[in-house]
């Protein structure tokens, strides 16, 4: 039933999205932190 090629692609996409979300949250946190200190 599963599409092996697409399954591997899905894992890669989920990892990339996870990493992007972590990086984004870090940037937003830092920016917010700076703003509150300004």
């Amino acid at each position: 039933m599963k599409n092996n090629k697409k399954f591997k692609g899905a894992i890669v996409k989920i990892i990339i999205i996870g990493v992007v979300l972590i990086v984004l949250s870090y940037i937003v946190f830092t920016f917010n932190n700076v703003l509150t200190k300004l």
């Binding site: 599963k2 599409n3 697409k6 399954f7 692609g9 899905a10 830092t30 920016f31 917010n32 703003l35």
Partner: protein
């Protein structure tokens, strides 16, 4: 009054109550939106006045308020001017790579990550426990055919919830198909501050085109972010997430359809450029039948589109000619069987031209006008100059009727296997329009909108002798799409044909002039210089049929392809779930089937939800899935082979278009006459077969061996 009350749908009351609730929320909860709308209204007014006064070189009496920030009080931390913003960016860049900041981030988000990790662990533990429980539960043998008590209770509960679920579904359809949807959308666009965002944009636009105040751009960005902040604070995070999922789902589905339509347009371009005769070849199971059928469906669309183009062109030439009257007259002539082919159209129009000329020669202008369907030829003329030659009105009528006949022919597939087509000719009594949308047809409509093609009597392709003596259909083929599968089984190569004689009394492949007809098929089908004849053959080996035949056509090799591609974006979450549970579901299926003949609640739940998910997954593939074929096209002049992509979309091609086992009926009818099947075939008793077992093979080889050894023994 009672009747009116009976007719009144009580759902209106609930919908009105919901509307009132939304309005109350607008008044008591979304107060900031009201302030922002008021401010935006004033910004728009002042910007418009400013714009008008500046552009008309008048004295500016009202300065635009769009440059001022809002008075709404919310907790919003963002630099108010450009200098502070650049400073903040600079400091952020430096802080990004400091240990202190990283630890602060980790400290702040440690709870979130801890929760996420714990959640993942918990899910893992639950899954493992569940798997263990499932294994234990399933691996107990039960051969009774009854359902377990928990399952019965569950089904009873399900039955009780069904009407409630149905009610909510009906209510949803009721609200979203009427005016409530628009009213609610309007209220929530107001509540979530969307109107203010649009209004502010327009206000700045009016201000900017008159002032070119680029310096104020940052304030506008600040105001936009401020408005977005008001919007985001309007709903809890979970509702935003649900809304995002709904919007994304709708977007990806639309995008999926767009992609499928793009593929179909690409295929259409490819099929348009194919020559009249095309031979598809490739190994069994390579997809040549699928491709040929798919191309046939697209050709249907192309022919109707080409015919409509011609009709449009001719219609433009004589704009005062009553073509609608001509079309109605054509319909009457078809009903009375005066017209039933392109030849009868030509004959009829030429006859009418003679009547017209006779009436003119006798100076009967009224009669002449009547013959010309009421067209005022004296005022508007009888010819059209296309800068190449003069086109006579009767020539135009003749071509128009021929193109109209092709355009309105409901079925033009002439095939040796049934092909289902579902193009819809919509007609309200005037000019009909075709609907060839292959991707939005509903499965339930298939029995009511399908046709299965004309039976290919091959005598229509024979210019010489025919199989059926005095066949009334012989020499009647003018236009259409002829599709023949297994050509090599029908028309042999020169080795097969060498025994046949052209001068024989019986019809055979040498005297039926099949190939001769094929080479001339374009001629009777041409209307306005466009041929409306396509011939598609498929076979396994090109060399199995004679070269005079296969070299008439374009060779298209089928077999190279990328299977199971997907046209809808953002499907990876489903792909991930399908991949994760695939092994589990397969093992579950085997075990539950092997150990149980009864049904338990656990088995039912897994089938219902996980099985339901796989049904959804497969349905999505049926809708958005496709195979990307690379057709090998051989240039008949240079012998060079070029590759052409062709998108075989499942929704178009796999919707019971044809049966790959189209000849199965012969085999089934034969098998039904017998009293034995595969189960009754004798089996070998050991790895070394015995002479008696060999004898059961009825093989030429074994028979020869038997003869040789028998004769040795005799000698």
């Amino acid at each position: 009054m009672k009747k009116v009350l009976k007719k009144f749908n009580y759902k209106h009351l609930i919908a009105i109550a919901i509307t009132l609730l939304f309005l109350l929320l607008s008044v008591f909860v979304y107060k900031n939106s009201f302030i922002r709308i008021k401010e935006t209204g004033y910004d728009l007014y002042t910007s418009f006045i400013y714009n008008f006064q500046t552009l008309s070189n008048s004295f500016v009496t009202v300065p635009s308020s769009v440059t001022k920030i809002s008075s709404v009080d919310i907790s919003f931390v963002f630099p108010i001017d450009w200098e502070t913003f650049t400073k903040a960016i600079e400091l952020t860049w430096k802080a990004l790579f400091t240990e202190e900041n990283l630890f602060a981030y980790l400290e702040k988000f440690s709870d979130v990550y801890l929760i996420l990790i714990t959640l993942a662990e918990l899910i893992l533990i639950v899954v493992l426990l569940l798997k263990n429980a499932i294994d234990k539960n399933i691996e107990t043998v039960n051969t009774t055919l009854t359902e377990t008590k928990p399952l019965k209770v569950f089904k009873r509960l399900e039955d009780k919830f069904k009407p409630i679920k149905k009610w909510f579904k009906d209510f949803w359809t009721f609200c979203f198909s009427g005016h409530y949807k628009t009213i609610w959308l309007f209220i929530w666009l107001y509540n979530l501050n969307v109107f203010a965002i649009i209004g502010e944009f327009l206000a700045y636009y009016f201000y900017f085109v008159a002032s070119f105040d680029i310096g104020n751009l940052y304030v506008q960005v600040y105001k936009l972010l401020f408005d977005v902040a008001i919007m985001l604070k309007g709903l809890p995070l979970i509702l935003w997430l649900i809304l995002a999922v709904i919007v994304l789902n709708k977007w990806r589905k639309n995008k999926g359809y767009e992609n499928l339509e793009h593929f179909e347009r690409y295929n259409t371009g490819f099929v348009k450029n194919l020559p009249t005769v095309n031979v598809f070849y490739g190994l069994m199971g390579g997809g040549k039948g699928q491709i040929m059928t798919d191309i046939t469906l697209t050709t249907n669309k192309i022919f109707r589109s080409n015919a409509k183009e011609t009709l449009q062109k001719l219609d433009r030439m004589f704009i005062y000619f009553p073509f609608a009257v001509l079309e109605q007259e054509y319909k009457r002539l078809v009903r009375t069987r005066v017209i039933y082919s392109l030849a009868t159209i030509e004959s009829y129009v030429r006859k009418r031209k003679k009547w017209f000329e006779r009436a003119l020669s006798m100076n009967l202008k009224k009669s002449a006008r009547y013959i010309l369907y009421g067209y005022d030829f004296e005022k508007y003329g009888l010819t059209y100059d296309n800068n190449l030659y003069l086109q006579d009105i009767f020539e135009v009528i003749e071509e128009y009727l021929k193109a109209y006949r092709i355009y309105t022919t409901v079925e033009m597939n002439i095939t040796n296997y049934a092909i289902r087509s579902d193009g819809l000719l919509q007609d309200v009594g005037n000019f009909p329009l075709w609907d060839f949308d292959f991707f939005t047809r509903k499965s339930a409509d298939i029995p009511y909108i399908s046709r299965y093609g004309k039976i290919l009597d091959q005598d229509i392709l024979r210019m010489g002798k025919t199989i059926k003596k005095d066949n009334p259909f012989a020499n009647t083929l003018e236009y259409g799409i002829v599709v023949m599968t297994e050509l090599d089984k029908e028309r042999g190569n020169q080795f097969v044909l060498q025994e046949l004689k052209a001068k024989a009394d019986d019809t055979n492949q040498k005297n039926d002039l099949f190939n001769f007809g094929l080479k001339l098929d374009r001629h009777p089908s041409t209307v306005d210089f466009k041929p409306y004849m396509r011939i598609y053959f498929d076979l396994q080996r090109i060399g199995s049929t004679n070269s005079d035949l296969h070299e008439c056509g374009n060779h298209l090799g089928v077999g190279k392809k990328n299977k199971k591609e997907f046209a809808m974006p953002l499907f990876f979450i489903e792909e991930f779930i399908a991949g994760i549970f695939d092994n589990f579901y397969n093992a579950f299926f085997d075990k539950s089937k092997y150990y149980h003949s009864n049904n338990t609640l656990l088995i039912h739940l897994i089938k219902k939800y996980l099985g339901g998910f796989y049904n959804y997954y497969e349905k999505m593939y049926n809708l958005y899935g496709y195979d990307l074929h690379f057709l090998q096209m051989e240039d008949m002049l240079s012998g060079q082979v070029t590759e052409h992509p062709y998108y075989l979309c499942y929704k178009k091609n796999h919707a019971r278009r044809y049966y790959t086992d189209s000849l199965v009926d012969y085999f089934r009818q034969n098998a039904l006459k017998k009293k034995v099947g595969l189960d009754d075939y004798p089996e070998y008793k050991g790895v070394k077969a015995t002479k008696e077992e060999f004898a059961m093979q009825n093989s030429y080889f074994q028979h020869n061996l038997n003869n040789v050894f028998d004769s040795d023994i005799k000698e």
